[in-house]
Amino acid sequence: MNPFYSGTRLRDMIRAIRACKTAAEERAVIRKECAAIRASIDENDHDYRHRNLAKLMFIHMLGYPTHFGQMECLKLIASAGFPEKRIGYLGLMLLLDERQEVLMLVTNSLKQDLNHSNQYIVGLALCALGNICSAEMARDLAPEVERLLQFRDPNIRKKAALCSIRIIRKVPDLAENFVNPAASLLKEKHHGVMITGVQLCTELCKHSSEALEYFRKKSTEAMVKTLKDLVNSPYAPEYDIAGITDPFLHIRMLRFLRVLGQGDADASDCMNDILAQVATKTESNKNSGNAILYECVETIMSIEDSGGLRVLAINILGRFLSNRDNNIRYVALNMLMKAITVDAQAVQRHRTTILECVKDSDASIRKRALDLVYLLVNESNVKPLTKELIDFLEVADQEFKGDLTAKICSIVAKYSPEKIWYIDQMLKVLSEAGNFVKDEVWHALIVVISNASDLHGYTVRTLYRAFQRSSEQQESLLRVAVWCTGEYGDMLVNNIGMLDIEDPIVVTESDAVDVAETAIKRLGSDLTTKAMGMIALLKLSSRFPSCSERINNSIVQYKGSLVLELQQRSIEFNSIIASHQKMRSVLVERMPVLDEATFIGKRAGSMTGSASTSNAAAINLPNGVSKSSAPLVDLLDLSSDDVPVPSSSGGGFIQDLLGLDLSAAPEKSGSNPTPISGADVLLDLLSIGTSPPAQSTASATDILSNQEKSPTSQLDGLSSLSSLSANKPSAAVSSPTIDLLGGLSPNLASEDENGSVYPSIVAYESGSLRITFDFSKTAGSPQTTLILATFKNLSPNSYTDFIFQAAVPKFLQLHLDSASASTLPGSGNGSITQHLRVTNSQYGKKHLVMRLRIAYKVDDKDVLEEGQVSNFPRNL
């Protein structure tokens, strides 16, 4: 023994780990143990290999890495003794899996052990092979396993049978080699061999149709007889579970019979009697009996039709469904799912019970029942079932609502008999579980609404009522309401298109505007909702001219929004409302009816495996999937093919124009203090305008042709403008374009705060000192000006103890940051900078003024200079 190794015993290590109070302590103990084990492995210590591996398995179970122990398993397996091999194989199965290359190294040892004279060692090898073998090993060792199927000891035969199952799963080609030895296992009396033999045969049938034919011919009758003997066998204490002899064997034989009987009338006929006997005679008061009944029902449902048996099976399921035990109810629901394809009518009879199960407190049962209800729905019962489900939606658990909502939406979409019902149900779902509704669901709803022209008024009024009752949590309800208010706001206010069933409501124009404003202002609203709110406001501004002023005011508030999308929309819409009255009504016309078929086609393309109806629609539409954006996205961006409005396909030209202007203008004016950037901007605009595909250019010409310009001359203009020559057509083009941006240009100068807009000034200059000021503004607070003061020493001597002070009148506030240095070198060889912040409380009325005092030392002599700055730029 190695006297230097004083490792702890396995038991002590487990105790030490269990005594740890914190995860950190545990990690420390494990680290120490692992270090000791590694050291021991490095020394190639034989005596402790066994114990080391046991420890490693425990450590592995706790989730720590143990890969360094893998080779130790192989060494233990290769050693001669049974105890070493036993722990070695256990370690192999725990620490490795079939994907590790190391596993290949064990193939040879396995082969030797499969041929070992000690049957327990053979058993260990079979067990390891059965649990973790890879396809390659399966191929290499299949002959050994095949031979062991005829081993003298039954315990080896059963292990070999299960091992064969794994081999066939890994390499299905090998199945045919196992058919004959497997068939002989079926004749055995030993239960273990029987169980594993039946399982092997079932597996063989799954992988090879020849095997299936073979067993159908040779074994069906024998299997039926064996099962009969088992069912009628007297009490056998070794195998008895709750009064039934070996339910495991029962179940496996029933499963095998199912495989044999499926699709074969003769075989099915042969097993009718025994199935009937099992179905009627099995006690159903214990779990083991129910397990057999459950398997028996599945077999009856799967084999070829024999009316009497099916009735028996459905009755058993009915009994299961009314059982108090949740497990039994669960499996009943599970089996009814399969039964529905066989006998839908019989399952429909249990509809009320199933519907009750949807409301069960057990999540697993609820899910099963909901899946089943979903299958039960058809045209005739969709209304009552949907009503039940929607009623339940109110009280359902939060975590169940998502599933439930998805299923309801799908049912309603699939089976709705009429549009008004569809819209009603969807609005209920949106109000009850708005946040669980997926985007494509409310997209689809909007498409349907848009198509139901006679229901527009009804829908928008119903939505308005629902909106009044809604809370923060119902984003998708809000979105649909906002969209409809934007589109059909006039119908809402004037009670147009009243149906007999509804009561008139009084909604003023400003109430309608409130809806859209709320969408933007609600804290919980996300960007999409806010953006939709903006669009709705724009649309309403044209529908209700009297509210136009108010709408413009609320849109303008988002000019400073940090979210680019909102800011952009705000600025664009503001400009449309303020400067383009004529164009506005055309721009915000009601959306043309959305093409339902296209939408369904697109949806089918984006969702795999959706309902067959929508797939069919997709086939009818050859090009339905080619556009990647959902129709609603187009719709939100005001796009449409036949109205000459900003089109989002290709980027939305007006948006591009404006957007570009926003980013380009400050840059230009930054480098060019004199803001004559119009032409430059236009150049940029046009250079962008020509690069998108033809479609966008076309829309540009559309817009510009409103200004009575022929498209061709404009195109000429485009090309000539690029050479920067100021010829006639280009000027003509540039004027409407600038006019288009008209609302913006003053803003850029006054509000769009960019430091370089203001020229720097020389604030003070004496013979020896020059002070320059650079100005900038912070975003969102125009009254505050940031000033960067730069000091330069023009005299040959350097200044020390340089101090700059400033004073301002009362309407200003001044904050001085500390200077970058206190020594200013002479002859202009360096500078000191200092930041000042001035807040003008009477911004826009009064201008900045400032007094300065500068103190410094030259050759230890104090100098004091004073001055006043009155040449600040205006509007600071």
């Binding site: 256990l90 067990c127 169980i195 339910p247 669960y330």
Partner: protein
């Protein structure tokens, strides 16, 4: 087929794991985390099945331990419950009214018993007696080997004194 067997304590500590389908180490800890979260939070009266990633976890609680086996969608859940009980009874006989501590300190024994019960995720033996006999036979093989080894090392120790 059974994809894996888990034994989890009420505190969420893993007491035994056996994987019959390939899962990487990372996946294994994720599986354990997810399932123990789902199973430990379920009330006592609810059914013993949890649907999880297209599979079904069948679990049963014995004292402080949850026994869990994960099976395919179309396997017989009730039978797997019976299987779990079968395993527990064998453990009980082997250890003599088994408790969690037995399984902690003799975890390897629990694995040996499981290996006599399941191979490749399928049931191997329905007789508790047979399993007990096989385990006992292998235990005694280990004992004799140990005795031999210690007597040999005694002889060597004597000789080299």
């Amino acid at each position: 087929m059974i994809h894996f067997v888990l034994l989890i304590s009420r505190q969420g500590k893993v007491r035994l794991t056996k994987w019959y389908s390939p899962y990487t180490q990372k996946e294994r800890s994720k599986v354990i985390r997810e399932l123990s979260g789902m199973i430990l939070n379920r009330g006592p009266k609810l059914c013993n099945f949890v649907e999880w990633r297209g599979l079904k976890a069948v679990y049963k609680r014995y004292a402080s331990l949850y026994f869990c086996m994960c099976i395919d969608q179309d396997d017989n859940e009730l039978e797997v419950l019976e299987c779990i009980h079968h395993f527990v009874e064998i453990l009980d006989r082997y250890f003599g009214s088994v408790c969690e501590l037995d399984l902690i300190f003799n975890f390897h024994k629990a694995y040996y018993i499981l290996d006599e019960l399941l191979i490749a995720g399928e049931l191997q033996e329905s007789s508790k007696k047979t399993v007990a006999r096989l385990i006992a036979a292998q235990d005694s093989l280990v004992e004799t080997a140990k005795e031999q080894a210690s007597s040999i090392s005694n002889i060597i120790a004597q000789a080299t004194k």
